[in-house]
Symmetry: C2
Subunit: 438 residues, 2 copies
């Protein structure tokens, strides 16, 4: 029998505790699969006294992650602390410098320092694995890294944040307001006390940056992502989307375009019959468009202790098996510098909801402003949507006017709306939601 | 630079031609990823003269697959001939005996002889990879083999045959008959001239047997699968399912039950909002229930030259990288003999459509027969379904009576229906469709 793989786990939150529990429960199956025992030998966490529901007797306790990473009886360092800097980064760097493989669930760290850490791992000849950093239990990292060599990936899009999808799903299904759904999500533990990172789209952006790097062979480029959160979405938008055959989802989308790589995170109208539209609640999903494979969609739990531990343990097993893959599929030194396509060059359909002062000729004046920018309209809706009892706009005399455009550019839409605003037709700022037809 | 990986491809149909074309087109990317060139050096096919749209100059032509497998300049044998026996099997065995890794898309071969071939591959210390054998471009084999070590898989279900899903989708969407849709599928190349293998459920059964083996660590057991095809499904069933909030799909389902491993292929009513229900047309999908991961669903193209080549090439790249995994995840010698749960112990809800003679008291008499078997009914429908213009039953006096049961056993349903038939209430044989709530 081969020597055991001795694991040190830094961070004992829900995920860390689940990793320790499952590695214990499935010890026999894991050993049978790789021919060597998998053992957690050492841990560290902020609070030693807390009961985590797992047996830590016989497991060495370290005062901090750096000390854990340096433990000569730790073969593999599992980082579940989180954060782009500080203890997590220092300990991961120390482990790699000591020639130890690293498994991490830390999306912020990989989004900020992925290429640098990958270079260090490759120099040390060890694995740096981060399946758990994106979309919880969905094996999207290994799918991009190993399952699609035949395809040039042209697009990757996903529902990558369970909190946002939960809120949008409930708003749609129950006609509730954003604020009410957010309060419920907090109560149920689906949203943090400070939910900005989730609902502002930043969490989705970190994950998207990692996926785009793997999909396109480019350096992780989290800074250039266009980001809009979901806080401005109103029930009226969801109801109107429903009437038009769409759902609204917070998507992360990365596409190869003629102008370069476009990365964006924003509320998006997707056709009801599309794979992503059907994903409700805290579930995540990722869709990949590849030249050979066509469209492939993976749907599963995006968070939760056990599901995330599932991804961590799959990475641990790769290490146990001796697999050392370039963390981003190709050598980190060969990752290309991405040409960034700015959001203004984005081409697609748009949903534009205006709160217009109810005067004759207003719709015609607005349509003219659109035409001046060569924007052609697929439809114009001026009726009050089903089930809406009262207008929610500031002025009682204002009525909602919804425009759906054919494919146009972001720049054209912004110029047209600037002109409409300057004309004084609007009761408040326009609501703009991009449409993804596929 | 490492030495090239020299591939021999046996079988130059749509998939073989696509493999050769894509390996050529993506030569640089493939080489960059594994650090060695991937080259097709030799091929064989029935008809040498046919134009396949790929450049075969410089590729050695063999008269048969055995000779190709023996070629000393072939490092990896790719079998795309098909069939559980004959040339495919002999050549695969010869390649393994010669210590050469094998990549195959042959579901019939793996379903019939998977364990035996895996033993041979393990004895030779080489890979036997068959990602392309199940669900085309969907990376389901590697997901089961590598991504879910933390989970005890309890259930795997899927839409594994594009022909059937295409036919059922069109029947539902356009209200067409089975015969009309099948004729269209043939015309469009989605169905073979002899479609029995697809529409009879046998193709799905082969694939299910392979998935069940990987999911449960049991020997591939294709012979014990309960199989029903889709030829008896009528538009009336699809319309009634729609009214009740369901779609009808041909599913392959393998479950761990108290009675053992249940493997079944049959038309199934699935709730419209479920991941599998939304899969329309020739697309395939596989859903996995695992203890740690929860529910994971993969959706993508189940057939087609490029999508299947995508899976073949992913396997080729694993071989190029030197990865040698046990074909079924664990040593083939350790695959357990499955305890087979017979279909009569299956527990679930049932849709039962009876064509009853329209006499007072008939419904009550039938309900009594159900009650005698402890079957409790969720609903009884006796109205003519929406959009149905004329009754399709044999007798004009017969009316459709639809029963939806709560969870019960197959044995109870069969006993109850035997009694109902003996009572002489039916105009023709009952239609029975199992319901999967998840």
């Amino acid at each position: 029998m081969k020597s055991p793989l001795r694991i040190g786990v830094a961070g004992l939150g829900t995920v860390g505790s689940a990793v320790i529990r499952i590695v214990g429960e499935r010890a026999a199956a894991l050993e049978a699969s790789v021919g060597r025992p998998i053992i957690v030998t050492a841990v560290t966490a902020r609070d030693r006294s807390r009961d985590r529901g797992v047996d830590l007797s016989g497991v060495r306790w370290h005062e901090n992650a750096l000390s854990l990473a340096a433990d000569p009886e730790v073969d593999l360092f599992v980082e579940l602390i989180g954060g782009a800097d500080g203890a997590a980064r220092l300990a991961v760097e120390a482990a790699l410098a000591a020639g130890k493989p690293v498994v991490t669930a830390n999306k912020a760290l990989i989004a900020a320092r992925g290429q640098d850490l990958a270079l260090k791992a490759e120099a040390a000849g060890v694995a740096l694995a981060f399946e758990a950093a994106v979309a919880g239990g969905i094996p999207i990292i290994r799918t991009l890294r190993e399952a699609l060599p035949a395809s040039r990936v042209t697009r990757i899009s996903g529902i990558l944040n369970g909190t946002c999808n939960y809120i949008l799903s409930r708003m749609e299904e129950e006609g509730l307001s954003f604020a009410d759904c957010l309060a419920d999500a907090k109560r149920l533990g689906y949203a943090e006390a400070d939910p900005t990172f989730d609902i502002g789209g930043f969490d989705t952006a970190h994950k998207l940056a990692i996926l785009a790097s793997l999909a396109f062979g480019t350096r992780v480029d989290a800074d250039s992502i266009y980001i809009e959160g979901i806080a401005n979405i109103e029930s009226l938008d969801l109801a109107t989307a429903d009437e038009l055959g769409y759902r609204i989802k917070l998507l992360g989308v990365a596409t190869r375009t003629d102008a370069g790589i476009e990365q964006r995170v924003h509320p998006t109208m997707v056709p009801k019959r599309s794979a992503l539209a059907e994903v409700m609640g805290v579930t995540n999903a990722v869709a990949i468009d590849g030249s050979a494979v066509g469209e492939l969609t993976l749907v599963g739990p995006g968070a939760g202790g056990d599901a995330t531990a599932s991804a961590v343990i799959a990475d641990i097993m790769d290490v146990a098996r001796g697999a050392v893959r370039a963390p981003f599929g190709i050598s980190a030194a060969d990752l290309e510098e991405p040409v960034r396509a700015p959001i203004r060059t984005h081409t697609g359909g748009y949903y534009i909801r205006l709160s217009v002062v109810d005067r004759p000729g207003t719709a015609a004046a607005i349509a003219t402003r659109m035409a001046e920018q060569d924007i052609s309209l697929e439809s114009i809706l001026q009726r009050r949507p089903k089930g809406r009892k009262a207008l929610e706009t500031a002025e009682d005399s204002a009525v909602p006017l919804v425009l759906i455009t054919h494919a146009t550019t972001e720049a054209a839409v912004r110029r047209a709306l600037d002109a409409v605003m300057a004309d004084g037709h609007l009761g408040c700022a326009p609501q703009v939601i991009r449409i993804e037809k596929e």
